[in-house]
C-alpha cells in the first residue's frame, strides 16, 4: 500500500510522476475504499532528505473526519502537525519531500491527482487559515483584493464587482464592522483580531468543505481568541465543513474538537474522541501535557510540571518509542522495550488508540492513582 518514493526528484513534474508511481495502479483511476471518511488520511509519510539525513517530519499518520466534524491535532513544535496539514493541501516543499500514503478527500486521492487538480481544490474545496495573519497576508494588496483574487481564481466568470460584493459580504459574515469601507484597506490597517477574521473570510470565500486551521488563535488575545473560536463553530454549523484544528493549545482543542490526535516525533501517539483523550488520557506524553497546564484553582506557590527534556530531533528520532527519553514511566513497561521497539498504535478504550508499551491495565491504574488527582 504505502510505498516510499525513492531518489530525489529533479523538478516539480518529476515529483508528480514519482508520487504517481507510488500509487497502487499507475495512471488508472483509483477508487476510494468504501469505508473512507470525507477526509481519510492513511499512512501519510512526509520525509525530507537533507545533507544531515532524512527528516521524518510525518511518519505514518492516519485519521479520518466527516463533514461537520472537527479533529484537533495537538503536539509540540516540530511534532509534524503543521507538515501534516500542509501535505493535505500539497503546500509542503513538494520538490524536496518524499511523500507516501493516501489522502482521500471526497473520493479522490490527493496523493495521485495532478498538480493542476490540486490547485483547483486548494482554496475551493479545501482551505486553510494560517497562524499569523500579518505575515500570511500580502502587505502590498488590500484585504479585499486578496479575497477577490481567491474568489476569481475558482470562479473566472465572476466580474470584479461581483467578487467584491461577495468579499464585503464575507467580511460582514466574520464580524468585521463596516465591511464596505474595510474591504479597501490594507492588512496593516487592521488590528490582529480583525486580520484573523479577514483571514477566515478569505478561507471561506469558496465555501470549502474542508477547513484546516493552523494555530488560528495563537497570535491573538484571549478574548479575541474566544470570539474567533465561536465564529468558527458558528460557520461550521452553517456550512457543515470538516475542520482540522492544529494547535498546541489544549484548551482550544477541548472546546472545539470532536476527536483528538496527539502527535509526537512525526507519529500519532494517542488518538480518540475528545472525552476519552482529554478526560482519560492513556499516553505518558498526554499526561505530561495535561498536568503541565497552569490552573487557576491551584495555589500560585505550586510549581508547574513541565514535560522534562526537549522535543526529539526529527533526523535522529530516538530508537524505540520516540518519547522514551522523556518518559517518567519507562519502568512500567517490559524491560528494554521502550528503547528498542517502536510501539504499535493499540486500542485501549472505545475508539481510543495509544502508542505505548505499558500494558493497558497497568496504564489505567497509573492514570487513576497518579494522574487523575492532578488533573
Amino acid at each position: 500500500m504505502a510505498q516510499h518514493t525513492t531518489g530525489m526528484p529533479q523538478d516539480r513534474s518529476a515529483t508528480t510522476a514519482a508520487s504517481r508511481a507510488a500509487a497502487p495502479e499507475k495512471g488508472a483511476t483509483t477508487t476510494a475504499p468504501s469505508d473512507a471518511g470525507y477526509l481519510d488520511v492513511r499512512g501519510l509519510k512526509v520525509h525530507f532528505p537533507t545533507d544531515d539525513g532524512v527528516v521524518k517530519a510525518v511518519d505514518g499518520v492516519s485519521f479520518r473526519i466527516d463533514r461537520g466534524q472537527t479533529i484537533g491535532i495537538v503536539g509540540e513544535s516540530g511534532s509534524g502537525k503543521s507538515v501534516t496539514s500542509q501535505a493535505i493541501l500539497g503546500l509542503h516543499r513538494r520538490t524536496r519531500a518524499q511523500t507516501s500514503g493516501q489522502i482521500w478527500l471526497d473520493g479522490e486521492d490527493l496523493m495521485t491527482v495532478s498538480d493542476e487538480r490540486m490547485r483547483e481544490l486548494r482554496g475551493n474545496k479545501m482551505a486553510m487559515i494560517f497562524q499569523d495573519p500579518l505575515s500570511a497576508m500580502h502587505p502590498y494588496y488590500t484585504v479585499g483584493a486578496q479575497i477577490i483574487e481567491g474568489i476569481r481564481v475558482h470562479h473566472p466568470d465572476q466580474s470584479k464587482a461581483q467578487a467584491k460584493t461577495r468579499a464585503i459580504e464575507l467580511l460582514g459574515l466574520v464580524g468585521i464592522p463596516s465591511p464596505a469601507r474595510r474591504v479597501d484597506q490594507y492588512p496593516h490597517e487592521f488590528s490582529g483580531g480583525m486580520r484573523q477574521r479577514a483571514m477566515i473570510a478569505m478561507a471561506l470565500s469558496n465555501d470549502p468543505s474542508l477547513l484546516i486551521a493552523d494555530e488560528p488563535t495563537t497570535a491573538l488575545d484571549v478574548t479575541v481568541q474566544a470570539q474567533i473560536l465561536d465564529l468558527m463553530r458558528k460557520l461550521q454549523a452553517e456550512f457543515g465543513s470538516a475542520i482540522i484544528m492544529i494547535t498546541h493549545d489544549l484548551g482550544v482543542v477541548a472546546e472545539m474538537a470532536d476527536e483528538i490526535l496527539v502527535m509526537y516525533g512525526g507519529k500519532a501517539v494517542e488518538h480518540g474522541p475528545v472525552e476519552e483523550v482529554f478526560y482519560r488520557p492513556q499516553h505518558p506524553y498526554g499526561w505530561g501535557l495535561l498536568t503541565s497546564m497552569p490552573r487557576l484553582d491551584r495555589a500560585r506557590t505550586e510549581r508547574l510540571n513541565p514535560v522534562p527534556g526537549n522535543p526529539p530531533s526529527l533526523i535522529n528520532i530516538p530508537p524505540g518509542c520516540a518519547f522514551h527519553p522523556r518518559c517518567a514511566y519507562q519502568g512500567e513497561a517490559p524491560p528494554q522495550a521502550c528503547s528498542t521497539i517502536v510501539p504499535d498504535l493499540i486500542e485501549c478504550g472505545p475508539d481510543h488508540l495509544v502508542r505505548c508499551h505499558i500494558p493497558t491495565a497497568r496504564r489505567a491504574e497509573i492514570f487513576e492513582s497518579d494522574i487523575k488527582p492532578r488533573l
Binding site: D11, L89, R122, N124, F130, S135, A136, P139, E149, V153
Partner: protein
C-alpha cells in the same frame, strides 16, 4: 502623499545647499592659489592679479559663494568686475544661468562643458542601465526559481565571474577582440542621439556592455536573494493555498515584493552613473563627465571640478528622491509615514 513629496523636496534643496557649500569651501582649501592656476609657466604677477580680479577671486569667500549661488539662477558675466567689462567689452563672456563658473583653461563656462559632456555620460549610463536591469533582474529571477539546479549554478557562477572582472579589463577586452581583431563593430566614437540615432546606439554598444557587466552581475545576486526571500514568505504560501496559479504567484505576489529593494538600488546606481562613469569613459575615450572630471583634476581646473561635483551630486540626490517616491507607490505601508 502631497505633503510627503513636498517635505522630501525641501530636504533635497537643503541637501544641495550643503553639498554646494562644502564643495565650494574645498575648492578654496586646495593648496593652489586659484588665480595662479589661470595662466601658464611664464606668468607675470600682473597677469595673475588681473585674472584674480577678472574672476572675482579677490572678493571675500562669502561674497564669492553668494555670487556662485546667484549665478545658478541669473546669468553671470566674465570678467566679473564692472570696470574691466567697461575697459574691454570685446572680451566679455556671458555665462548663462545656471552658471557654474568659468574655466580659464578651457576658455569656456563650466555650464558649457557640462552641456557638452553630460549627453555622453547620460547615454552610456542609460544604455547600460537598460541592459543590466534586463539581464540582471531576469537572470536573478531565473536563478531563484531554479534554486540549487544547474541553471541556478551556471547563472550564479557567471555572475561571480562578471562581478570579479574589473571594468577596465572588460572594456579593453571588448575593444581589442570585438572591435579591433574581429571587427564586429567599429571602434566606438560617440555620436549624439540628435545627429543619428542609429549611429548613437551603435557607438554605445561596447561601452554600455562594459559598464553593464559589473552591475548585471550584482543585480543577479541581489534579485536572486530577494526573490528567494520573498518566495519563502508566508503570504506566498497563502496565495498558493488560495489555488492561485504558480506563474501568477511568482509574478503578482513574489516579484512585486522582491522588486522594492531592487528599485531602490537601481535608482541609486543610475543616479550615481549619470554623474559620469569614469573608467568606462576613459577606456573608450568618450568625453563624458567622468572623463572631463579626471582631466580637470589632472590640470587642477578647479571651477570644472566644483561644477561637475555639484552636477553629479545633484543627480544622486534627485535619484534618492525619485526612489523614495517610487517606494511609496510600490509599498502601501510607506504612504502614511
Amino acid at each position: 502623499m502631497f505633503f510627503y513629496i513636498l517635505r522630501r523636496l525641501i530636504s533635497v534643496v537643503v541637501m544641495l545647499l550643503i553639498i554646494s557649500m562644502t564643495t565650494f569651501l574645498l575648492f578654496f582649501a586646495a593648496p593652489e592659489d586659484p588665480a595662479r592656476l589661470t595662466c601658464g609657466k611664464n606668468c607675470t604677477p600682473a597677469v595673475i592679479e588681473g585674472n584674480r580680479k577678472a574672476l572675482g577671486y579677490d572678493k571675500p569667500l562669502a561674497v564669492q559663494y553668494a555670487k556662485f549661488l546667484q549665478g545658478i539662477f541669473v546669468d553671470r558675466k566674465y570678467p566679473d568686475d564692472p570696470a574691466l567689462q567697461a575697459a574691454s567689452p570685446e572680451i566679455v563672456t556671458t555665462c548663462q544661468a545656471p552658471c557654474l563658473g568659468y574655466s580659464v583653461m578651457a576658455h569656456k563656462s563650466v555650464t558649457e562643458i557640462v552641456k557638452d559632456t553630460l549627453p555622453v555620460s547620460a547615454s552610456i549610463a542609460l544604455a547600460a542601465f537598460v541592459l543590466w536591469m534586463i539581464v540582471g533582474v531576469s537572470g536573478g529571477i531565473i536563478a531563484a526559481l531554479n534554486r540549487g539546479k544547474w541553471l541556478d549554478r551556471v547563472i550564479v557562477g557567471l555572475a561571480l565571474i562578471g562581478f570579479s572582472l574589473p571594468t577596465f579589463f572588460i572594456g579593453l577586452l571588448l575593444l581589442t577582440f570585438v572591435a579591433i581583431k574581429m571587427k564586429l563593430v567599429e571602434i566606438p566614437r560617440f555620436v549624439p542621439l540628435t545627429e543619428d540615432p542609429l549611429a548613437w546606439a551603435q557607438s554605445l554598444t561596447l561601452p554600455a556592455i562594459t559598464l553593464a557587466m559589473v552591475f548585471a552581475a550584482s543585480y543577479v545576486r541581489l534579485t536572486r536573494a530577494y526573490m528567494l526571500e520573498t518566495m519563502s514568505e508566508d503570504y506566498i504560501r497563502t496565495a498558493r493555498a488560495k489555488g492561485v496559479k504558480e506563474s501568477v504567484v511568482i509574478r503578482k505576489h513574489g516579484l512585486r515584493a522582491a522588486l522594492t529593494p531592487i528599485v531602490t538600488a537601481a535608482g541609486m546606481d543610475l543616479g550615481g552613473l549619470l554623474g559620469g562613469a569614469v573608467i568606462t569613459e576613459q577606456v573608450f575615450g568618450f568625453r563624458g563627465l567622468g572623463y572631463t572630471a579626471v582631466r580637470a583634476i589632472d590640470t587642477t581646473d578647479l571651477p570644472v571640478i566644483v561644477g561637475i561635483v555639484i552636477v553629479a551630486s545633484t543627480f544622486v540626490v534627485i535619484a534618492n528622491l525619485v526612489v523614495d517616491i517610487l517606494y511609496g507607490v510600490i509599498d502601501p505601508r510607506v504612504r502614511l509615514t
